[in-house]
């Protein structure tokens, strides 16, 4: 069964808009997850913490170098994800259209290959 990752890609502006209405966003997200549950397609969903609290491990040199914060420019930030188990890419896209998101944000839909497949 194909699994799909719906990746929330916010911008500084859309994240700010989301934080301004955080209670509403949490409520609509809960509703969305509830809908995923009741359609039998929910696998996992998590929101990610503030990107500024993250680190990046850079393999550019001889040994990995750890630096604070993931991005130089914050055009698109991964804010969280929904992992769903659906019949087709089209169905994943339909769910993606229903993801609660602030204006300016994007949702990226990526297929998760099964254990017997090689990612490509």
């Amino acid at each position: 069964m194909p699994k799909y990752l719906l990746i929330m890609r916010g911008t500084d502006e859309s994240n700010a808009a989301m934080m301004a209405n955080i209670d509403e966003m949490i409520a609509t997200s809960r509703q969305f997850i509830d809908d995923l549950f009741k359609a039998g397609v929910y696998v996992a969903a998590e929101g990610l913490d503030d990107p500024a609290k993250g680190v990046v491990v850079d393999f550019g040199g001889e040994t990995p170098v750890v630096t604070d914060g993931p991005y130089g420019e914050t055009k698109e930030l991964f804010g969280g994800f929904f992992l769903i188990d659906v019949a087709s890419k089209e169905e994943a896209v339909e769910w993606a259209k229903r993801v609660p998101a602030a204006p300016g944000a994007k949702v990226e839909v990526r297929r998760v290959p099964g254990g017997d497949e090689t990612p490509h």
Binding site: F37, G40, D85, A87, S88, E90, E91, V93, E94, G115
Partner: protein, 404 residues
């Protein structure tokens, strides 16, 4: 379009059944809405596809009722129903809708229907599969499948089955029927009874999704979680169960690295919920057995003692000769073939699995392990004569020949 239908169909049919009181009419109206969408969406895609389908199906349902002279009185009532008169895409109480989908599951699994009709209706109206998809999955012709569905709808109408959740007293008993329909769908997908493929995962996954939906709607019913756990843990092995040429790979030969780890985690989580209330029911116990296999690095390192105990418990809550036979296999792994042979011999004496190739298959294996070669060979040859599956039969004959 298909994707929207898949997501929304159960809700639409359920809501329409509540409005019209007629399950068959609701299903037909929803189908007509889909047909209309196929024609009109490519030209003018709606802003709210789900709402569009619901509104159109509702309009179709009213048209159908209007056409039925005998139902003229009811139409008058419907026409004045504020819920029906509201604009397209209006608000519908989500809690009520969930109850509707649950009621839909109970109606499509109603005991007045034949088991085949229950399976077909559940896949058709709850899972939203097309007649073609169901016919392909169960290897019947599309007209035969459609006739089965039509008969099922007529049976429900003739029996006057109300569209509602069964009263609490009946609920548990009827829930057992719903679970068994889902399990039948799952087993058809996990071990196809006929055809050229051992596994039809898409059918099995449809059952898993229905079980997940049921678990979301009835979170306090342990056996729903038990069934879900059993299905998830069984499906976790699918990637390792067949060789590249499609032939079956036995448990002891499976590459356990190919088991679906996330399915195992989901299964274990569901199993935890199934046992939250204390004891496990029949599905929960079978899931616990599957979980013991899933946790083991190899056949040898499996917790066979635990599996024996679980089969003993299963034999108490849901006694059957197949459970006895499985217990014998587990006992053979835990304590050796001698003790297991005694259990199988009792089964032979009681004659409860007469004609099945399973008893001589297991007996033959145990006798082989005990070094009683001529007897083992006779048993395996008997098993091969009784076995209907071509692939299994050739394995049995090969094992018998190795004992020469």
């Amino acid at each position: 379009m298909e994707a929207v239908w898949r997501i929304e169909s159960a809700r639409i049919v359920a809501a329409l059944t509540r409005f019209t009181g007629d399950f068959g009419l609701a299903e037909d109206a929803a189908q007509e809405a889909v047909a209309e969408a196929l024609v009109s969406w490519p030209r003018t895609p709606p802003a709210d596809p789900a709402g569009w389908l619901m509104a159109t199906a509702r309009r179709r349902a009213i048209d159908a009722i209007r056409r039925r002279a005998a139902l003229r009185d009811r139409y008058a009532v419907l026409a004045t129903d504020p819920a029906l008169g509201a604009a397209a895409g209006d608000e519908v109480d989500p809690d009520r809708i969930d109850d509707d989908v649950l009621a839909l599951m109970f109606v499509s699994c109603h005991p007045v229907l034949s088991p085949e009709a229950r399976v077909a209706l559940t896949l058709r109206v709850v899972a939203g599969l097309s007649s073609q998809e169901i016919a392909r999955a169960f290897l019947v012709s599309v007209p035969a499948l459609q006739a089965r569905i039509t008969r099922g709808k007529k049976t429900i109408a003739a029996a006057g089955v109300p569209f509602e959740l069964p009263p609490p007293a009946e609920r548990r008993e009827r829930l057992g029927g719903v679970l068994s329909v889902l399990y039948v769908i799952f087993t058809e997908g996990s071990t196809a009874t006929s055809g050229d493929r051992l596994v039809r995962p898409e059918v099995a996954y449809e059952a898993i999704r229905l079980a997940r939906t049921l678990a979301a709607l009835l979170p306090d019913e342990p056996e729903v979680h038990g069934l879900l756990a059993l299905c998830e843990l069984t499906a976790a092995r699918f990637p390792a169960r067949t060789a590249p040429d499609g032939s079956p790979v036995l448990l002891e030969d499976q590459d356990r690295r190919r088991w679906d780890v996330s399915a195992i985690h989901r299964g274990l989580a569901a199993l935890a919920k199934a046992s939250a209330g204390g004891g496990l029911g029949p599905y929960g116990l079978q899931a616990a057995i599957a979980a013991t296999h899933a946790a083991a690095p190899s056949v040898e390192a499996t917790g066979w003692d635990r599996i024996v105990v679980l089969y003993e418990a299963l034999g108490r809550v849901a006694p059957s000769p197949v459970v006895e036979l499985n217990r014998a296999v587990a006992v053979a792994m835990a304590s050796g073939p001698e003790e297991a042979l005694a259990i199988v011999d009792e089964l032979v004496v009681s004659d409860r699995l007469a004609g099945s190739h399973l008893v001589p298959t297991v007996r033959g294996e145990l006798l082989t392990r005990l070094g009683r070669r001529p007897e083992a060979r006779a048993e395996l040859e008997l098993a091969a004569r009784l076995c209907a599956n071509e692939r299994e039969r050739s394995v049995l004959l090969r094992k018998a020949a190795e004992l020469d």
